[in-house]
């Protein structure tokens, strides 16, 4: 995690990208507090969205843990970058 960005303190809204291993479909967005759920090539899923503060971040990570989802990385994103909104089809059928 980028130390400078993380040190904005426990009470500042930032956008985070949480990467987990395995594909999850967009229907999981609500479960993860309205984060955007995108699937990446190579078999990972990215949860992207604004996180109110450190407490909220740990709450999200707890949800990831409770599902047994392997956590790959947690990265803060600069606030002015556009979110990725493309959804890859869940099943190629």
């Amino acid at each position: 995690m980028n130390i400078e960005q993380a040190s904005l303190g426990p009470v500042s809204t930032m956008v985070y990208r949480i990467k987990i291993k395995g594909h999850l479909g967009p229907q999981w967005a609500e479960w993860f507090e309205s984060m955007v759920v995108t699937q990446e090539e190579g078999g990972c899923t990215l949860l992207t969205g604004p996180v109110a503060d450190q407490a909220a971040l740990h709450g999200l990570l707890k949800k990831v843990r409770d599902l047994g989802l392997p956590l790959v990385s947690v990265t803060p994103a600069p606030l002015n970058e556009p979110h990725q909104k493309c959804f890859i089809k869940e099943k190629e059928e």
Binding site: E30, T45, R65, D66, G68
Partner: protein, 886 residues
């Protein structure tokens, strides 16, 4: 019929009929156990079969195992301790039973003293045993983490702890690893290897897969047991396993998310709906499920049994097949799906409705905490609040304070601002758990909200009660700051507004009033309040408060010299408290110790004194009550003649007082130090000490030791006046005793005797003995004279008997036998006379030799005898030789 929550938390999960053999893991666990490690840690993500391995080990193990399944509510220290003790009692029936009753009656407890006591009791358990703590990752409270670290640090040799968790706990693991006191099973240990996967899929689940298929599936799932389990359930009865395997292994889809679809769709609609809707529950039983589903048919139990037989996600929590829960992982998945289903409008009812149904069911079945939790999930603030109110004992007495405070903290400001009752609740619960931060703010928010609601109208009874509660909370805040004035104003306000039925709050307010008066020194007012508090508590049946109020009343009685009454009150209070006294009762023991001391029953005094200290030490270390106990015990040692020990103990107390900055206790400490110094003959040091503090009585004692009785009387006169004005009878007696001694030292024997007679008259009703006994021979002398005059003969007789009995002891105490101990040095003329006495001259002869009148000689003699503390010429000579005066 309905097994209790306790049973389910202590239930050791039973083994499935067919499971994969995990021999190597069991061996590792056993090796760790027998090599003497303290802690076994099983740390791996969800779905790695932690609980299964442990239950397999439990079934196999020689040692008794006791199991505690943790949940979020166990973050409350008092609840955690209660369940811990309950688990230990499965190994040894009576362990911690005394502590349990302490926990049940106190609102919140500090953990460490209870743990220490518990550890002592565990040491008494003869068999080696194992304690399993399952789902430890749900514990987040630092208090509990610290408690566990403490437990492990001081682990009795017979006890072994196992922790199963999804994340490494906040315990000193590296330290334990370094000392080889830790056994670990981690994800890599727990996953199925290729042969285990094969065994599971083909033999346990009876699929008939080729080696190649198994390898592919094992690779894809990485041996993750939950994944393999779901896999097997999906494939069971599947027509085209080949294409299934192909699409499964070919995708990146998160394993269990993908598979659960398959498994769910295989179930009929009824079961699917059942699974989704009941997923909101942590624990499920047939009737509860029926209530949630709103179905009139009681099919819940049937479905649960079906799920159990089909091995579909469900885990039994007792032997009666009454309570179950879903496997954690699957519960999460089901909940997610249910949430989605609700929000996309597929469900008949909204999510909240199901939570409310659950809350209702739990409430009816008196499972108030669960009822509360579901009300919170339903975001039904009114319902949640109502449950907290409860009938009879409010919810927070059952160890749910943390739960409620967390909920209150989570409520948005808009909700809090519009509900003054919740703000007040927040304030009072915070105070109960010993926190003062944010309380005043919440009270102000409550007041603002009330004002807005009232809009200038007169408040109704409920509102009045709330206003009263706000005032009571402010009184408690003032109590924590030792500010008597606001304590008085706010308590009075509280009493004016509180509902007459709100006995708990009223009693508390009255007691606080009494305490405030006591702090101010207005003893009659304090007594009046305490008497009322006692009567109200008695009528209300609130034993706790009755005990506290009684003890306070007892203390006041003692201060008024009503020693017999005080003893009665203290004894009653202790009887009410029963076998399991709590920290506050130290005051009763201390009170008794002081009275027995006064009555010269030193054995009983010491017993109660020690008990008092023991209890006082159970308080939070930042509370200074134990200092009073230690000071008393020092004084007791002094009376028993053990000056050295008294001094040593006092030095320890001093260190501790300084360390904690217990500023208020320093003068009292100094007073005892003065007594010891004077006993040791260190008059100079004592006089230096009294310079530093406002201690008139000690100062008077020092003057007496220095042979300056006039100065002593000067100091004492205004104090006497003040004590009489205030009605502080105990202090009044102490002053009078010193005045008697001063008058005697001055040579005003008659005055001294008269004052002593008055003092005795005041002291007799209370039966005071040591008050006089502690002053030694001078006092004994005066008493003898009074006896001759026949004044208060039975009392005086009693005192003299005590003196004679104690004479042995008195002689042992290092009396002032060195030259510096002479209270007042002889004047030159007196020395002259003494020399002549020693040479054998009579009074007459001395008067001739010194050209002074006979009466003058006699006057000198008197002075000499007093200074040397003797009665006769021969004694005077002997003494003078001893003191090297000749």
């Amino acid at each position: 019929m309905l097994s209790s929550l306790l049973t389910t938390k202590l239930f050791i999960p039973s083994l499935r009929q067919k499971i994969v053999n995990r021999r190597r893991l069991i061996e590792k666990l056993n090796d760790g156990l027998f090599s003497g490690s303290r802690l076994t840690l099983i740390s791996a993500s969800a779905g790695f079969g932690k609980t299964t391995v442990l239950s397999e080990w439990a079934a196999d193990c020689d040692r008794p195992i006791t199991w505690l399944s943790l949940d979020e509510g166990d973050n409350d220290p008092s609840r955690f301790l209660r369940y811990l003790i309950a688990a230990l009692q499965k190994v040894s029936e009576n362990v911690g039973s005394g502590l349990l009753s302490v926990l049940q009656t106190q609102e919140s407890s500090s953990i460490e003293p209870i743990l220490t006591a518990l550890l002592n009791e565990i040491t008494g358990i003869p068999d080696n045993f194992i304690l399993v703590l399952d789902d430890y990752h749900l514990i987040e409270a630092k208090a509990i983490e610290d408690a566990l670290a403490f437990l492990i640090e001081h682990l009795p040799p017979s006890m072994h702890i196992v922790i199963a968790t999804r994340e490494d706990p906040n315990l000193p693991l590296s330290l334990l690893r370094g000392r080889s006191q830790l056994t670990e099973l981690r994800g890599t240990d727990l996953r199925f290897g290729p042969s285990e996967s094969a065994e599971f899929l083909n033999e346990v689940m009876c699929l008939k897969l080729s080696a190649g298929d198994i390898a592919a599936l094992e690779t894809r799932t990485e041996g993750w047991i939950a994944g393999l389990q779901l896999l097997a359930l999906s494939m069971d009865g599947h027509q085209d396993t080949a294409s299934f395997i192909k699409s499964f292994t070919g995708s990146h889809h998160f394993v269990i998310d993908y598979l659960i679809e398959e498994v769910l769709h295989k179930q009929c609609d009824v079961v699917q709906a059942f699974l989704l809707r009941t997923s909101i529950l942590d624990r499920i039983c047939g009737p509860l499920c029926d209530a949630i589903l709103g179905s009139s048919s009681s099919s819940g139990q049937e479905i649960l049994e079906y799920l159990d037989r089909a091995n579909l996600f469900i885990v039994p929590l007792d032997n009666e097949r009454c309570w179950y829960r879903y496997h954690h992982l699957f519960a999460e998945l089901l909940r997610q799906r249910f949430l989605q289903s609700c929000s996309s409008g597929n469900e008949a009812e909204g999510l909240s409705e199901y939570h409310i149904r659950a809350s209702r069911w739990f409430e009816v079945h008196d499972l108030k905490i669960e009822a509360f939790q579901h009300a919170v999930e339903a975001k039904d603030v009114d319902r949640a609040e109502r449950i907290i109110e409860g009938k009879g004992l409010p919810l927070h007495f059952r160890g749910a304070i943390v739960l409620i405070l967390d909920w209150l903290k989570s409520l948005p400001a808009t909700v809090m601002n519009s509900k003054p009752s919740l703000c007040v609740r927040y304030a009072t619960l915070s105070l109960v758990s010993g926190q003062t931060t944010g309380v005043e703010e919440k009270l102000q928010t409550a007041e603002a909200a009330l004002k807005a609601q009232l809009k200038g109208n007169e408040p109704d009874n409920d509102t009045r009660d709330l206003i009263g509660q706000i005032a009571a909370a402010r009184a408690t805040l003032a109590l924590t700051r030792y500010e008597p004035e606001p304590m008085i104003t706010q308590s009075n306000r509280a009493l004016a507004y509180l509902n007459p039925d709100n006995l708990l709050a009223r009693i508390r307010a009255i007691w606080t009033l009494g305490f405030a008066y006591q702090v101010q020194g207005d003893r009659p007012a304090a007594r009046k309040a305490y008497v009322e508090a006692v009567e109200l508590s008695r009528g209300s049946g609130h034993i706790r408060f009755l005990i506290v109020a009684s003890i306070s009343l007892g203390a006041i009685e003692a201060l008024d010299n009503h020693l017999y009454q005080a003893v009665e009150v203290f004894k009653n209070a202790l009887e009410l408290a029963g076998d399991h006294p709590q920290p506050f009762e130290n005051e009763a023991h201390l009170g008794l110790a002081r009275i027995y001391y006064e009555w010269n029953d030193l054995e009983a005094s010491e017993k109660h004194g020690q008990k008092s200290l023991q209890l006082a030490r159970q308080f939070d270390p930042s509370i200074d009550r134990y200092v009073f106990c230690e000071l008393f015990l020092s004084r007791l040692k002094l009376a028993l003649g053990d000056t050295g020990a008294a001094a040593a103990d006092l030095a320890e107390t001093e260190k501790s007082v300084l360390h904690h900055s217990f500023v208020h206790r320093v003068p009292e400490l100094a007073a005892v130090q003065v007594l010891i110094l004077l006993r040791q003959g260190e008059v100079k040091a004592a006089s230096l000490l009294v310079e530093k503090h406002e201690l008139p009585l000690s100062r008077a004692r020092v003057y007496l030791a220095q042979g300056a009785p006039a100065e002593a009387l000067d100091v004492l006169a205004p104090v006497y006046k003040t004590m009489v004005e205030r009605g502080w009878k105990d202090e009044q007696l102490k002053v009078m005793v010193l005045q008697v001694l001063a008058l005697q030292a001055q040579g005003d024997k008659e005055e001294a005797l008269l004052l002593l007679a008055s003092t005795l008259a005041l002291a007799e009703p209370g039966g005071f003995i040591r008050l006089f006994l502690d002053e030694g021979l001078p006092m004994g002398e005066l008493l003898s004279k009074l006896e001759l005059r026949g004044i208060l003969s039975s009392y005086v007789n009693k005192l003299l008997t005590a003196f004679n009995a104690g004479e042995q002891k008195l002689e042992k105490t290092p009396k002032l036998s060195s030259a510096q101990a002479l209270f007042e040095p002889l004047s030159p003329r007196e020395s002259e006379v003494l020399q002549l006495i020693a040479q054998g001259f009579s009074n007459h002869q001395i008067s001739e030799r010194l050209f002074i009148a006979l009466d003058t000689v006699k006057g000198h003699n008197r002075k000499i005898f007093d200074k040397l503390q003797v009665h006769k010429r021969t004694e005077a000579v002997a003494r003078a030789h001893k003191l090297d005066l000749l």
